[in-house]
């Protein structure tokens, strides 16, 4: 057991900053590496760490974290040999012909159409994550916003003199009940990093190496951490490679961050569900509509798992997460096999494996999610489905192995229509193709008695608007980067 070096880990990896309801994700370009490093030499101290602060009053009302793209590290001047030790996914970024196939980014989600991170956009070098919380008030997003924006303005006033140029920003919000725009409570199930000081169900406790470099992962080996190949900068700031290669480890206490801006088509989603469940006279059958939507999602809007509450939403906001599928729902009669949540985290029921084996397999593909809402806060439902303007999710997650974690989930468990024994069922939330090929069906199967039902012709309800792979370094690596 290796205790986590929490004061060297940037905080957002360990905590979701849920009390900070307003945040601004600022995407920047480095115009002058020298000035940027000078800025980094001071500002590494202002980055929020994962250190636990027991006294609430001592927690700062603003938080700040930072992440770099491959292009950003290159621009800062990290030597090519060293850059070459980062994983291929990170070096390539989210856009390559092969990756686009894996992630299913076609038609309106094609990288050519993205607002940022695509081939037609100015390359992003780093992302600053700015958070604010008004400590006088409780869950007041407007007040939090003022704190966040003030802090942002303080920071942005210095961008130019520090060689940084702001390309765009996206404001990420949370909602007191943590509901996303389709109206479902989100972010309930999260892996718990072993030894991070957080507590939760034991099935959710995952080896630190799945999320942080420098520690062993679920396979009992160290993740593929980036290392210093050519000496530069103040190497005393860096720890040695835990695996014993003798090289300095630039990854330790850091990880990879995946970001994707997903526009949500609330109207398409609820109109489709309403259509599938409408009464004979064509009117909306609200109860059935909510139920089908819950089957598709895997939880009711309140967050209550449909596996435990198969008939109707218990109504109260729920954080129930300590459950499995194998015992109560082996046949998918409550939560269908194809539901968004079941397929992306099948818990103790992967394919036809036993409980122990399933848990192990599920846990080899977990991600630490940090999604926030953008656009005007809206809570969708069968009867409330027209938000003002564009709304969506700024999806963000942390993982040490982008290929085995984030990309596996998006490709193998979401896009491939073959989960469990299914035939033509992509993930109904994030895996449906906008234009299926000729003759290709896209269904959602509701396991039922005496026979299961097919919900046909799923529409694509999200559009990818931007995205990128980032390196989320440790505090000491930030310091080191200022010395190269």
């Amino acid at each position: 057991m290796t205790p986590l070096e929490l004061n060297d880990i940037q905080g957002y990896l360990i905590r979701g900053y849920a009390h900070m309801m307003y945040s601004r994700f600022v995407y920047l370009q480095i115009n002058d590496a020298k000035s940027a490093k000078k800025w980094l030499a001071k500002s590494w101290k202002t980055m929020t760490t994962a250190e636990y602060i027991p006294k609430k009053s001592l927690i700062s009302n603003t938080h700040l974290n930072i992440a770099f793209t491959y292009g950003g590290l290159k621009k800062l001047g990290l030597k090519p040999d060293t850059l070459g030790t980062f994983s291929r996914e990170f070096r390539q970024g989210m856009v390559s012909p092969h990756r686009t196939r894996l992630l299913g980014d076609f038609e309106n989600s094609a990288p050519e159409k993205w607002n940022w991170g695509g081939p037609g956009n100015t390359p992003i070098h780093l992302c600053l994550m700015v958070f604010g919380n008004d400590k006088e008030s409780n869950d007041d997003i407007e007040k939090d916003k003022i704190v966040c924006i003030n802090y942002y303005e303080e920071l942005s006033a210095q961008f130019t003199e520090n060689g940084l140029e702001e390309l765009l920003y996206i404001d990420g919000q949370t909602q007191p009940e943590n509901k996303e725009h389709f109206g479902f409570r989100d972010g309930i199930s999260q892996p718990i990093i072993e030894d991070s000081g957080r507590i939760g169900p034991k099935d959710d406790i995952i080896k630190a190496g799945e999320f942080i470099f420098g520690y062993k992962n679920d396979f009992g080996v160290y993740p593929d951490t980036p290392l210093i190949k050519t000496e530069q900068g103040n190497l005393n700031l860096l720890p040695p490679d835990a695996e014993g290669s003798g090289l300095k480890d630039i990854g330790r206490n850091g990880t990879f961050m995946v970001m994707r801006q997903l526009e949500q088509h609330v109207d398409t989603f609820w109109s489709y569900i309403n259509n599938q469940t409408e009464n004979e006279d064509g009117s909306i059958n609200e109860a059935e509509s909510l139920k089908l939507a819950a089957k598709i999602m895997g939880r009711w809007q309140s967050g209550a798992p449909i596996t435990l509450f198969p008939d109707k939403d218990p109504g109260v906001i729920s954080d129930i997460n300590d459950f499995g599928y194998s015992k109560f729902d082996k046949d998918g009669l409550k939560c269908p096999f194809g539901s968004h949540l079941r397929r992306n985290n099948p818990r103790d029921n992967v394919d036809d494996h036993g409980v122990k084996e399933s848990l192990k397999l599920s846990n080899q593909h977990r991600i630490m999610r940090r999604a926030r809402l953008y656009g005007e806060i809206f809570e969708g439902s069968p009867t409330n489905k027209a938000p003002k303007g564009e709304v969506g999710l700024l999806f963000c997650c942390f993982n040490a192995d982008i290929s085995r974690q984030f990309e596996f989930l998006q490709y193998t468990w979401a896009n491939l229509p073959k989960s469990k024994e299914l035939y033509n069922d992509p993930d109904p939330i994030i895996g449906v193709k906008e234009k299926p090929s000729a003759g290709e069906q896209q269904n959602f199967t509701v396991q039922d008695l005496p026979v299961s039902r097919t919900v046909k012709d799923l529409p694509r309800i999200i559009t990818v608007k931007g995205g990128g792979y980032f390196f989320f370094p440790s505090i000491s690596v930030l310091r080191f980067l200022s010395t190269i």
């Binding site: 070459g84 030790t85 980062f86 994983s87 291929r88 070096r91 390559s96 012909p97 092969h98 196939r101 894996l102 992962n217 396979f219 080996v221 160290y222 993740p223 593929d224 980036p226 046949d331 394919d351 036809d352 084996e357 192990k360 397999l361 080899q364 290929s403 085995r404 990309e407 596996f408 490709y411 193998t412 491939l416 229509p417 073959k418 024994e421 035939y423 290709e440 396991q447 008695l449 005496p450 026979v451 299961s452 039902r453 097919t454 046909k456």
Partner: protein, 419 residues
């Protein structure tokens, strides 16, 4: 009807390797537009691939001079002679185009079904072990059973079934299905292959008897061989980018993918004996036990096989599977690590092993990197039913078998769950 697999290896005419690669690239393009009638129309080929080997640098920097060769691997129904006969007749055009760039292919005027057959037959090489995910199922049967399942599914979706017993529903489906000419094939009886428990028990017994010998052998390998091995130490991030990009050009277009791997045997008879013993064990397990769509716990493989050639100095591995190999492989290390290590640790530059059991495939990061690094570009790959997973194929047969039986209410409920 049985499924078989044939591997044909021929040298490419000197200086024609590039022409051949270009030609195969053209064929691949045609295939992507759904156009390879030469194989499709035979209706007996499950998978086929052409791979040009030894035209580039060896990944273990082997200095031996090698001439480029063309591999042709076909998984099919029936016997080899029939296959080669039909290829030489119905697929003559494409065959002539490809093999006119290879050594010893009959000259223009001498090309006929017999001479083509003789040529291909002469160059076949023996398989070390073949795995089939749906043993006994022909291409025709797989397609028919797909249509059957799709029909039943559509029929179930066409109305409501409340208040009917599972038995009654089963009966009605049967009646509707049997009234259709398209499903006349159902009159032919079929059944799912089962585990041969007797064979398995015999195998276990043999292994138990041999156990002392096996233990001594493992110690012997460890102290006299393993500790002197040159090991594969790279991680995935350290693989050649250009080569990875090349491999990726051929991947993830369909829900199925292919994998071709070429590795060299370590020197010495001890290694050869070990790998041969592992292949023998694999063959036995495949025959007795891995008959239900899972190979060492891997539930995504349609056809896979190992081949040794060049006087047992080199090993080829081929696989046709669902999903993405790189993403999946890690999931199977727990169940299949011993087998993969037992076989591949006898080949050069494998991740470090101990006692043929630990390390090796269990070293996830290096094993994945090794697997990717020793992979070859598969120049042309044909798959007969890319829309079906191997689980689908087996499930479809189960549906068919159960449909034709008389079922109790409980069995009928179970049957309906399959659809």
């Amino acid at each position: 009807m049985d499924q078989n697999s044939t591997t044909i290896l021929v040298p490419v005419i000197k200086n024609k390797a590039q022409d051949l690669l270009d030609l195969l690239a053209e064929i691949k393009d045609d295939l992507e537009h759904g156009n390879l009638p030469q194989f499709e129309e035979l209706n007996i080929i499950h998978y086929a691939r052409w791979v040009v080997i030894d035209h580039g640098k060896s990944w273990i920097n082997d200095q031996a001079e090698r001439t480029p060769k063309l591999l042709f691997v076909i998984d099919y129904d029936g016997n080899e002679t029939d296959l080669l006969q039909r290829l030489g007749t119905d697929s003559a055009a494409i065959l002539d185009k490809v093999y006119s760039l290879c050594e010893h292919f009959p000259f223009n005027e001498k090309r006929n079904p017999e001479s083509r057959l003789a040529y291909l037959a002469k160059h076949t090489i023996k398989d070390a072990a073949v795995y089939i995910g749906a043993p006994g199922r022909t291409v025709q049967q797989i397609k028919e059973e797909r249509n059957l399942r799709d029909f039943i599914r559509a029929h179930l979706d066409s109305k409501t079934w409340d208040n009917l017993s599972a038995q009654a529903i089963h009966q009605e489906i049967k009646k509707v299905v049997l009234s259709k000419d398209a499903f006349m094939f159902l009159n032919e009886k079929t059944k799912m292959p089962g585990v041969n428990w007797l064979g398995l028990a015999f195998l276990v017994l043999v292994l138990l008897i041999l156990l002392p010998l096996i233990l001594v052998w493992v110690l012997f390998i460890h102290f006299f061989y393993e500790r002197k091995d040159e090991n594969f130490t790279r991680k995935r991030s350290q693989l050649d980018d250009e080569f990875m990009t090349e491999l990726e050009k051929y991947e993830d277009f369909k829900n199925q993918n292919q994998f071709t791997q070429l590795v060299d045997m370590k020197a010495g008879n001890a290694r050869l004996i070990t790998i041969k013993a592992m292949f023998l064990l694999s063959r036995s397990l495949i025959r007795f036990f891995f008959v239900k769509g899972k190979l060492m716990g891997i539930p995504t493989i349609h056809f896979a096989k190992w081949v040794m050639f060049d006087k047992n100095k080199r090993v080829l591995f081929f696989s046709n599977f669902d999903g993405s190999w790189q993403q999946y492989l890690g999931d199977f290390i727990d169940n299949s690590g011993w087998g993969l290590t037992g076989i591949f640790s006898n080949t050069k530059v494998f991740p470090k092993t101990n006692f043929l059991m630990t390390g090796g495939a269990y070293d996830e990061e290096r094993f994945l990197a090794w697997s990717r690094n020793s992979e070859l570009v598969t120049n042309v790959w044909y798959a007969a039913y890319p829309d079906l997973s191997i689980k689908n194929v087996n499930n479809n047969t189960k549906i068919r078998v159960q449909l034709m039986k008389t079922l109790s209410e409980r069995q009928a409920t179970k049957f309906l769950k399959l659809i």
